[in-house]
Point group: C2
Chain length 403, copies 2
């Protein structure tokens, strides 16, 4: 009996425990997920300050200023941004003030330098200003106690800027999971090396580590592991260090003695192997290993199967490790440009080229699960339901866009 | 006279020269842009191989097999994946074969293990197969000389997998530009440290470096630089090492002697300062510095101005450095949920909360350019054209979604 895609994903999500939240430096927190609300501890801005370069004044002192009859006032000093002195305005005078500098006591407005003759000892002001002009008030962006960011926020650049502006050097958040990908197989050779017949170049670990990075996660590729259960076991145990999620690729087909990943994991952790009613990607394995119950996916060795499995199962698991899983948007719909076939009782994910503007999706030629070049030409997966075995051109289908 | 947003961007793009293409290791090439077509040097797959675990046969030998009258044949050996021996099938016998193993000479099909009794010395085959069954043919994914990926492709996970599968250990591509962000100001203090009145926590470099990373680029934040032209000049010259694009923030207002970034760059490079007819973000500076003509943006110090400028000008420049600039999709449209105001003769980018499903966008409260908390609440920018100074609720507006 095969599991449905939904049943399998639900079991994965029920197994995963979110990573513990940690205090992360802001430079390390892009893409981390806030574990608690962040409230302002100070007003933002922290003090009244000037929005422009100009002159701090009492607005009443310049109320009569015109181009013909400027108000001329003595300049009693200058306040630069970052000047921590305490200044007071003497009525009937001005203080020169720079953008961001603290408004002196007694001033209630800033006259922009453009309204003046830029005088140094005295200044001719040609235009009046309202009280409050060009003054950024203390707390005008946020008051102490205001919730700046809510728990569950995935931290983007602006959030990090706001945390910095509010004085936070670190933030309590769940980091992006670190992913290690292990590829197994005696037939595998490093890309860039020579081949003899019977061998192929390793591609899955390269692809899956990059897919994890595309999903925002730090990811690395473990050196190629040979086809013995003991080598796989040693690699998995070694890779546990520094990984929050492990992926293996290969060694899980249905043939028995060469399924070294199955054999290795039988002695370690909780990995269960099962068939999922999908194509490509039927043979799946998932569980946890090691002292931290690190999730491990044993993906099929066929590259297209491995990639589709990554999109459907590993990506949601990465979100769940940050306690940030939410169902992604429903598939969009498009009209099939040509016929398509699908095995009975399995949901197919066919590679297609989606023309969004035209609302058309064309299945690519080469739908076998080893055909990676055809996946590279595709930009979408066409979903064919379990009970459908053939579709004609012109029918409407669900499509998932690829990253 | 102010420049339009379009004129300013066009001048930037006309100035930037793409980074030279380099041979990048696949592990470093995610997001890099291919500088030349990649063609297959070998067939993919490189040899006929089995798509399943089973038995290599001559299809004619098992044509009569049924459940009641299995065809029983001797098993003359086994071929594992990665086995580089050269095998030949003796007609009237079979060879056990694993997924990915080379098809022996003389065989024309694979009987899946599920159709058999899994015999070791001899096997009972209960079902016939067509010639070619479960055989992946040499070159079935790509033939030598086929274009696998075209110049200009931005390399994603699947592309990297395909390059690996085709045997490429490196790829000739333009890497993601490395960005360094320099924040200047005597008022700036490291987040996490204490403040006295007159000081604020540095946030722009944190935010802009994260924005560059959100755009896929390696980015770092330079230590806070004090308000002297010589300090800024030294920082820019130091930061040139290891950066493909520099950003400064602050030190470019209209007041004169404190505009240290302007003063520093007057002696170095080609940076021009100008006013762009937009709000926030009017004072802009762009040019090149150093022996590699490294692009440098001198962004305004107000955080919202700096961020909007990053989105409108720096992001396209990052794409142009990879020779991969293309105009991003047109803004979408939404109905304004409440009134909005905009200065005359400037294009406004107002912060808004876009409800995509409802097609409604609501301006957030707090539109001044220092109000970062309101930017963190927004998910879109509402574009108000130059000639429009006020909009009523219910009008249709252009919106740009934020990352």
């Amino acid at each position: 009996m095969m599991d449905s895609v939904e049943k399998y994903l639900a079991d994965i999500l029920a197994t995963i425990r979110p990573l513990p939240a940690r205090e992360l430096a802001l430079a390390d927190a892009l893409g981390a997920v806030l574990a608690a609300d962040v409230t302002a501890g100070h007003p933002l801005p922290p003090f009244d300050n000037s929005a422009m370069d100009g002159y701090a004044v009492l607005a009443a002192d310049v109320a009569a200023a015109t181009g013909e009859q400027p108000v001329v006032l003595p300049v009693r000093g200058e306040i630069a941004a970052g000047d921590t002195g305490r200044y007071s305005l003497v009525p009937g005078s001005v203080l020169k003030i720079m953008t961001g500098a603290a408004i002196p006591a007694g001033a209630d407005a800033v006259v922009p330098v453009e309204f003046t003759d830029s005088g140094a000892a005295q200044v001719a002001i040609r235009q009046p200003v309202d009280p409050g002009n060009a003054v950024r008030l203390t707390g005008g962006d946020a008051q102490p106690g205001d919730v700046l960011l809510t728990a569950g926020t995935r931290l983007g650049a602006v959030h990090l800027g706001l945390l910095a502006a509010a004085g936070h050097g670190t933030v309590l958040a769940r980091p992006r999971p670190r992913v290690t990908v292990i590829s197994t197989g005696d037939e595998l050779v490093e890309p860039g090396s020579g081949l003899v017949p019977g061998q192929i170049w390793e591609s899955n670990a390269t692809m899956l580590a990059a897919a994890a990075r595309e999903a925002g996660c730090p990811a690395r590729r473990y050196p190629i592991v040979r086809d013995t259960a003991s080598a796989v076991l040693a690699a998995v145990q070694d890779a546990l260090d520094g990984a929050d999620l492990l992926i293996t690729s290969g060694g899980v087909s249905m043939g028995g003695e060469h399924d070294v990943v199955k054999a290795a994991l039988a002695t370690l952790g909780t990995v269960g192997f099962r068939k999922v009613a999908m194509q490509p990607g039927m043979p799946q394995g998932f569980g946890t290993v090691g002292p931290a119950s690190t999730p491990i996916f044993t993906l099929p060795g066929n590259p297209v199967s491995a990639y589709v499995s990554f999109c459907l199962f590993v990506r949601p698991a990465l979100d769940a490790l940050q306690d940030s899983y939410r169902e992604r948007g429903k598939p969009s719909q498009a009209v099939l440009a040509g016929p398509a076939r699908s095995p009975a009782a399995k949901r197919s994910y066919l590679r297609g080229i989606l023309d969004d503007a035209a609302g058309l999706v064309t299945p690519v030629s080469g739908q076998a699960s080893h055909q990676l070049a055809s996946l590279a030409r595709a930009n979408a997966l066409i979903i064919v339901p379990e009970q459908v075995t053939s579709l004609a051109g012109g029918e409407t289908v669900d499509v998932l866009e690829l990253p």
